[in-house]
Amino acid sequence: MEAAAAQATASGWRANLATIAAMTARAKNELLRVPGAAIPGVLAPTIFFLGLNGVFGALIDLRGFDTSSYESFIVPVSMLQGAGFTGAAAGVNLARDYEQGWVDRLLVSPAPRWVLLAGNVLAASARSLVPATFVLAIGFAIGVQWPGLDGLLVCYLMVAAMAAVAACWGSMLALHYKSQSAAPLMQAGMMALVLLTPAYAPLELLQPWLEAVARINPVTHVVEAARQGFVGDVTWAGTWPGIVALVGLLVVLGSLALREMRRTNV
């Protein structure tokens, strides 16, 4: 009946990894055990992709585009939008879990707070690959250029990391407001972050105010890194700014989310 042994194990890295894995595994239940739950997350970015292509496709005739295929130009944006949506949804789920008392179960255990957060975030990252792949498949069907293996890998890396960023943002809001009513803020925040970039057109063709915003928005680098293979060649120079931007966002939003996780008892 000694808690000391459990305590010693609880502080071990093995226990932390096991906890992260267990929480990530639980997150898949939402997709696999609730009929139709996966559909909105997959449908929304697909609709946007096809819709934007149908509506704004003629923009490709403007001078300034590096490619002649608008669908190739915007497919990475839709994939990143899907990542943002998935991550924000992880925040909404956390808020719901909080309202129903599930989060208390996690908070009362000796697992470190960062471990609890990491499970939620990694699950979102993994889940984001589903809508991204769906959008890409549809894209290939309507004529998106093959980005090469390197382009594909870079794009998926950006998508997975973007979902983690969105999950940190959503988790931060969920733990701060402790209510699902913060859901619109979670979604809108990520939508703004991904779309206030050269999402629909290259930087030079954006209206001046949006160009200015896009130049300071770190996600611009993420969009451009993800887009590389689809519109041209993949280079390290085109990739590292995206990685730096994502690492920076993860550090900032992750710290804020962790802070909220630690302050749930205030």
């Binding site: 449908l43 779309l195 999402a199 629909y200 954006l206």
Partner: protein, 261 residues
């Protein structure tokens, strides 16, 4: 119980409840107003260079062009939201209370739609104001603004009717909520966000025959050039068509609900 006066009072009472419900929950309004505003900013900023494409209709700015589309988007989200609220009423059993009383059925639905219409009105005023603040001209002046507002408010009644019909048929808020992507699909397959002539197939052809394109054009014309009788009549015809469809679906759904319980 009989008489136009009684019915009117009932509609007013239910309508007031519907409007109060709608505006008392800011977290429900914000997606209807905030998302379309955000999209307006992004799409104007991102695709604004499109007005330089050959064949783009003469407009003062892309913002001026887009206002009608944003109003449409808000209006349709409001219709979806009204349908959800109605479905919640059904799930909660509130509509049973109404059905068991001697209120005419149409008054129940009409009262519900009042909230949606109020939101539609609010949305059109909001976007006209946004447009003016950010430098867009309303070429049709005050009459043009009033016409645009009237068309959007009427459309919200029409779309709300469809939402109510779905709510009555399914009795489930999550079913109505699941139709939200459909709103986006309908809008993308219309001339809400870009001139129909410059869209890519097959969206281009679908948009040509999409009744919502007629409505959007009817709302857009007074803003970008001035009131045009033909365009206005086409918009009104489309709205009437949707209202009739909504009425037919609602009536059938009501019969189904009262039969099934």
């Amino acid at each position: 119980m009989s008489g136009l006066g009684t019915n009117a009072r009932v509609v007013r009472a239910l309508g007031a409840r519907s409007i109060r419900q709608t505006f008392r929950r800011p977290q429900l309004i914000s997606p209807i107003i905030v998302f379309p505003t955000l999209l307006l900013a992004i799409q104007t900023g991102g695709a604004g260079a499109g007005i330089n494409l050959p064949g783009f209709p003469p407009v003062q700015s892309f913002l001026q062009f887009m206002l009608a589309g944003s109003m449409m988007q808000s209006m349709m989200l409001a219709g979806n939201s009204g349908g959800i609220a109605f479905a919640v009423d059904i799930e909660m059993g509130f509509t049973d209370r109404l059905f068991a009383s001697p209120i005419p059925r149409f008054a129940i639905v009409l009262g519900r739609l009042a909230g949606t219409a109020a939101l539609g009105l609010f949305a059109s005023v909001w976007f006209l104001a946004i447009g003016l603040i950010f430098g867009a001209h309303i070429e049709g002046g005050i009459p043009g603004a009033l016409l645009a507002t009237f068309l959007i408010t009427a459309s919200s009644l029409a779309v709300g009717g469809i939402g109510a019909a779905i709510a009555l048929r399914s009795g489930s808020a999550s079913v109505v909520q699941g139709l939200f992507p459909l709103v986006l699909v309908v809008l993308f397959l219309s001339s809400a966000f870009f001139p129909q002539e410059l869209m890519i197939e097959p969206a281009k052809t679908i948009a040509e025959y999409n009744p919502f394109s007629f409505i959007v054009e009817g709302v857009r014309e007074p803003i970008v050039s001035g009131i045009d009788a033909k365009q206005t009549l086409e918009a009104v015809a489309a709205i009437v068509g949707i209202i009739l469809l909504g009425l037919a679906l609602s009536a059938s759904a009501l019969r189904h609900r009262l039969r099934v319980g």
